[in-house]
C-alpha cells in the first residue's frame, strides 16, 4: 500500500491533531493506518506485528477520537491512547527490545499518572551461566515470618486479601506430612516441640504450571525463574490447579496497596502492580536478584534459614548445601524437579 487509499484518508481526516501527531511520530507510521490493517488482514499473509500495530493504532485513534469528544483534557486523551496500545501489545516473550522499552515507557507513564510518583520498571534479562536455586534450613527456621512481611512489601502484594507468596507451616516434631501442619499459627514462636517449614514457588525445572497455560503467559526463564506475563494472562487458573505446591495466587479482585507503601523499583516480570483477574507468584524477587541482590525473604530472615544462590557456580553456598547436607524436596516423586531444597543441620 504505497498510495494512501480513500479509506485511509478518510480515517486520517477523522483524527484529532494529537492522534495524528502520534501516528506521525511512529517510526513506521506507514503501517499504522486502519486501511493497512484491514488490507493486511484481508489479503496479505498476515504479518502479526504489522497487523497488530495497525489495529492498535486504529483503535488508539478511535479511543482518542471518542475521548476528544468527551473530555477537553489532553491528559485523559493520552491515557486512553496508552491503555489501548497496552491492550494490544504482544506476549512479553515475543517482544523485541524496542517493543519492550516502549511498553515499559507506557507503563511508567500510566503509573505516573495514577500514583503521581515515578516508578522504574526493569526489563533486565537472565545472565548467562546463572541458574537460581534455594535452600531452606528446617532446623534454623523459628517461624518468625519476617520473610512473609518482607515479601509482601517488596513485591507489592495485595493488602486487602492478605495475599502472601510464602507460607510457614508449624509441624509437630516427629511428623512430616503437611496435612497435619498448621499453616496459620499465631502465637509465640518457636513453640516447644514444633519445627517450621516454609513454602513458596519452587521454580521447578519441569514446571507443570507452564505446560498447561493455554496462552503461554507463564514460562521458565533461562536463569530458572518461572514468571508470569500479567498482561497476557487470561485468568483461567489452570496453572493453579496444576501446581502441586500451592505456589500460585490469583487476583480475585483488584489488588490494593497504599500509595506510600508501593515499591517503585519494579520489574516487568516481577513486582509491578498486578490487576484484577490475573495470576501471580513468587519470582525469586526478579527485580532484586537480576541485579545481584538477594531475594527479600533471604535478606529478612533473622536466623539464616534461607540460602539463595547460583546452582551453576560450584563455589556458591547453595552448591555447598547440596554437596554437604542431607537434602530433600517436597513431592519429589512428581518429577517436577523443584529448585528448592530443604535441609537440616
Amino acid at each position: 500500500m504505497t498510495e494512501s487509499s480513500p479509506l485511509r484518508r478518510w480515517v486520517q481526516g477523522l483524527l484529532n491533531p494529537e492522534a495524528r501527531r502520534h501516528l506521525a511520530a511512529e517510526p513506521d507510521a506507514d503501517d499504522t493506518g486502519f486501511a493497512e490493517g484491514a488490507a493486511a488482514v484481508l489479503d496479505k499473509p498476515l504479518d502479526r506485528r504489522q497487523a497488530l500495530r495497525a489495529l492498535a493504532g486504529a483503535a488508539g485513534a478511535g479511543a482518542a477520537l471518542v475521548n476528544a469528544a468527551c473530555s477537553p483534557l489532553s491528559g485523559r486523551n493520552e491515557e486512553a491512547q496508552l491503555r489501548w496500545e497496552e491492550f494490544f501489545k504482544k506476549n512479553y516473550r515475543l517482544m523485541t527490545d524496542s517493543e519492550r522499552s516502549a511498553t515499559v515507557d507506557r507503563l511508567e507513564r500510566l503509573a505516573a499518572g495514577e500514583q503521581k510518583e515515578k516508578v522504574h520498571i526493569q526489563t533486565s534479562k537472565p545472565a548467562a551461566g546463572v541458574l537460581f536455586g534455594y535452600a531452606f534450613n528446617i532446623s534454623k527456621c523459628k517461624g518468625y515470618q519476617d520473610c512473609v512481611t518482607a515479601c509482601i512489601e517488596e513485591n507489592n502484594l495485595d493488602r486487602k486479601s492478605n495475599m502472601q507468596y510464602i507460607r510457614i507451616f508449624e509441624i509437630e516434631n516427629g511428623q512430616s506430612s503437611l496435612a497435619s501442619a498448621n499453616g496459620s499459627y499465631y502465637h509465640k514462636v518457636p513453640a516447644d516441640g514444633q519445627y517450621y517449614l516454609g513454602t513458596q514457588c519452587f521454580h521447578c525445572e519441569n514446571p507443570p504450571c507452564v505446560s498447561v497455560c493455554p496462552v503461554g503467559a507463564t514460562w521458565k526463564e533461562e536463569d530458572g525463574i518461572v514468571v508470569v506475563d500479567y498482561d497476557w494472562c487470561i485468568g483461567c487458573r489452570y496453572c493453579q490447579a496444576a501446581c502441586p505446591y500451592f505456589g500460585r495466587r490469583f487476583n480475585w479482585s483488584a489488588p490494593e496497596i497504599p500509595a506510600e507503601e508501593i515499591n517503585r523499583e519494579q520489574h516487568y516480570l516481577g513486582n509491578r502492580p498486578r490487576k484484577k483477574g490475573v495470576m501471580e507468584k513468587c519470582t525469586f524477587c526478579i527485580q532484586r536478584t537480576r541485579q545481584g541482590k538477594q531475594p527479600a525473604c533471604v535478606e529478612a530472615c533473622p536466623t539464616g534459614a534461607r540460602i539463595f544462590g547460583n546452582l551453576l557456580d560450584p563455589n556458591s553456598e547453595i552448591r555447598y548445601v547440596l554437596a554437604n547436607k542431607k537434602v530433600f524436596r517436597l513431592k519429589e516423586e512428581l518429577g517436577t524437579e523443584p529448585k528448592f531444597w530443604y535441609f537440616s543441620d
Binding site: 498476515l46 506476549n91 485468568g235 493453579q240 513431592k331
Partner: protein, 412 residues
C-alpha cells in the same frame, strides 16, 4: 424480489423459532428472564472480579467448570444417536438424531459460555488466537479442548444444517457429502470428552483426578446421562407436538442409557475399592467427598444422594418391564441425569482441590452470583435447544419448506 433459497431458509427458520403457541412463548419468556438475571449477575462479576464467587486460591474452580465438564459429556452423548443412524442406517433413530444434535449444539454453547464466565480476563481471550496471540498447542491440554469443542460445534451445526436445508428445499441429502463428516464427528465426540477428562487426569498435583479411569468414566457417565436427557426431550416433544416419536426409539435409547449406567456403576465401584481398601494420603479427597474430612462435610449429602439415585435408576432400568414403562422411563432418566450432574460436576471438580496440595481444607459454597450466572447459562442452553428443535420439527414435518413458501404457505 428473489432471494437465494438460503436466505429464505434462515428467514423462515427465524420465523418458526419466534412463533408458536402460548405455552412456547411462556417457556421462552421464562428462559429469557433467567438469562437476563444471569447477565445482570455476570455484569457484577465483571465489575468486581471473581471475588464475588465462592471460589478462592484453594478451590480455584467451582460451579462454572463443574457444569462445563458435565455439559461436554452431554454434547458427546449425541454421538450415541449419530453412530447408528448415519452409519449403520438404522432408520429408527432417524427422527431422534436431529434432536440429539440439537442437544449437542446447546450443550456446546453452554460449555463455551461456562468457560468464558470462569475467566478472569475474558476481554483478553484473543491472546489465544494463533498467530495474533500465542496458542500453546500442543503442550496445553486446554488448547486441545478449545480445538475439539469448537470443531465439534462446527460439525454439529453443519450436519443438521445440511440435512434440514436439503429437506427444506425438497431434495434428498447426498450421502457422500455428509457421511464423511458424520464418521469424523463420531470420533470427535469421543475425543471431546476424553480431552476434557485429560484436562484433569493430566495433573499429578491433584491425585483425585490423576487416574487412568477418569476418561473412560467420563464417557460411561456421559453416555448414560446424555441419552437419558434425550429421552426426556423426546418425551416432551411427543407430548406437546404432533411430531410423534416411535416407542422403539425410546426402547433403544433406554437400552443405551442402561448399559452405560451399568458400566459407570462398575467403574464407580472400582474407584471406591481402590480409594478405600487401603487408604493413603491420596485418598483424602475421596474421604472428603464421601465421608467428610475434619468436620468438613459440605459435599457428603450431595454425593450420597447422587450415588443412591444412580443405583436406584440403574437397577430400575435394568429390569425390562420397568424400562419399557412409559412413565417409569422418563422418571428414571431424570434421576440418572441428576445423579450424574452431581457426581461429575461438583462431585468431581471440588474434591480435586480439597485438601489442597499443602493439606489445606477449604470448603466451597457457590455464591448467589455463581448460581444466577449458572442458571442464566442453562436457560440460554434451553433457549437454543428449544429454538433449534422447533425449527427442526417444522422442517421435518414438512410445515416449513421452500415449496410451501412459494405457494404462500408461509407469509410474513
Amino acid at each position: 424480489m428473489r432471494h437465494h433459497p438460503l436466505t429464505h431458509f434462515f428467514f423462515d427458520a427465524f420465523l418458526s423459532a419466534t412463533r408458536g403457541r402460548l405455552g412456547y412463548h411462556v417457556w421462552m419468556g421464562c428462559l429469557t428472564f433467567f438469562m437476563l438475571l444471569g447477565a445482570y449477575a455476570y455484569q457484577i462479576q465483571l465489575q468486581e472480579g471473581l471475588v464475588v464467587t465462592g471460589m478462592s486460591d484453594h478451590v480455584s474452580w467451582g460451579m462454572y467448570i463443574s457444569n462445563f465438564t458435565f455439559l461436554v459429556g452431554m454434547a458427546a452423548a449425541a454421538v450415541m444417536l449419530v453412530l447408528p443412524t448415519y452409519i449403520l442406517d438404522d432408520i429408527d433413530f432417524g427422527k431422534a438424531v436431529l434432536i440429539g444434535e440439537g442437544v449437542a449444539v446447546a450443550a456446546l454453547a453452554m460449555c463455551l459460555a461456562f468457560v468464558t464466565v470462569d475467566l478472569g480476563g475474558p476481554h483478553r481471550v484473543w491472546h489465544m488466537i494463533p498467530k495474533i496471540g500465542f496458542f500453546n498447542w500442543p503442550r496445553s491440554l486446554l488448547t486441545w479442548d478449545v480445538l475439539v469443542l469448537n470443531g465439534y460445534l462446527a460439525l454439529n451445526l453443519l450436519i443438521p444444517f445440511y440435512l434440514l436445508y436439503r429437506r427444506y428445499t425438497g431434495r434428498q441429502p447426498e450421502k457422500h457429502k455428509y457421511v464423511p463428516f458424520v464418521i469424523l464427528s463420531v470420533f470427535w465426540a469421543v475425543g471431546i470428552h476424553l480431552v476434557t477428562a485429560f484436562l484433569y487426569a493430566g495433573l499429578p498435583a491433584r491425585p483425585f483426578w490423576h487416574n487412568a479411569l477418569l476418561g473412560p468414566r467420563f464417557l460411561a457417565s456421559a453416555f448414560a446421562a446424555g441419552p437419558a436427557f434425550i429421552i426426556l426431550v423426546l418425551k416432551i416433544i411427543n407430548h406437546f407436538t404432533d411430531y410423534s416419536i416411535r416407542t422403539v426409539i425410546f426402547h433403544k435409547l433406554a437400552m443405551i442409557t442402561t448399559v452405560a449406567a451399568q458400566i459407570n456403576l462398575v467403574m464407580l465401584g472400582s474407584e471406591i475399592f481402590v480409594e478405600f481398601y487401603h487408604p493413603t494420603e491420596h485418598t483424602e479427597s475421596a474421604m472428603y467427598l464421601f465421608f467428610g474430612l475434619d468436620g468438613h462435610t459440605a459435599l457428603v449429602p450431595w454425593i450420597r444422594t447422587a450415588i443412591v439415585l444412580n443405583i436406584i435408576a440403574t437397577l430400575t432400568l435394568s429390569i425390562h418391564r420397568l424400562r419399557h414403562h412409559p412413565i417409569v422411563l422418563p422418571i428414571m432418566g431424570a434421576t440418572l441425569f441428576i445423579a450424574v450432574w452431581i457426581e461429575k460436576g461438583m462431585g468431581l471438580v471440588v474434591p480435586g482441590f480439597v485438601p489442597g496440595p499443602l493439606g489445606d481444607i477449604v470448603d466451597y459454597h457457590p455464591s448467589w452470583i455463581e448460581i444466577a450466572v449458572t442458571s442464566g447459562i442453562w436457560a440460554m442452553g434451553f433457549f437454543i435447544l428449544s429454538s433449534l428443535i422447533k425449527v427442526a420439527i417444522d422442517i421435518e414435518s414438512g410445515r416449513l419448506s421452500a415449496a410451501k413458501r412459494q405457494s404462500g404457505g408461509v407469509t410474513s
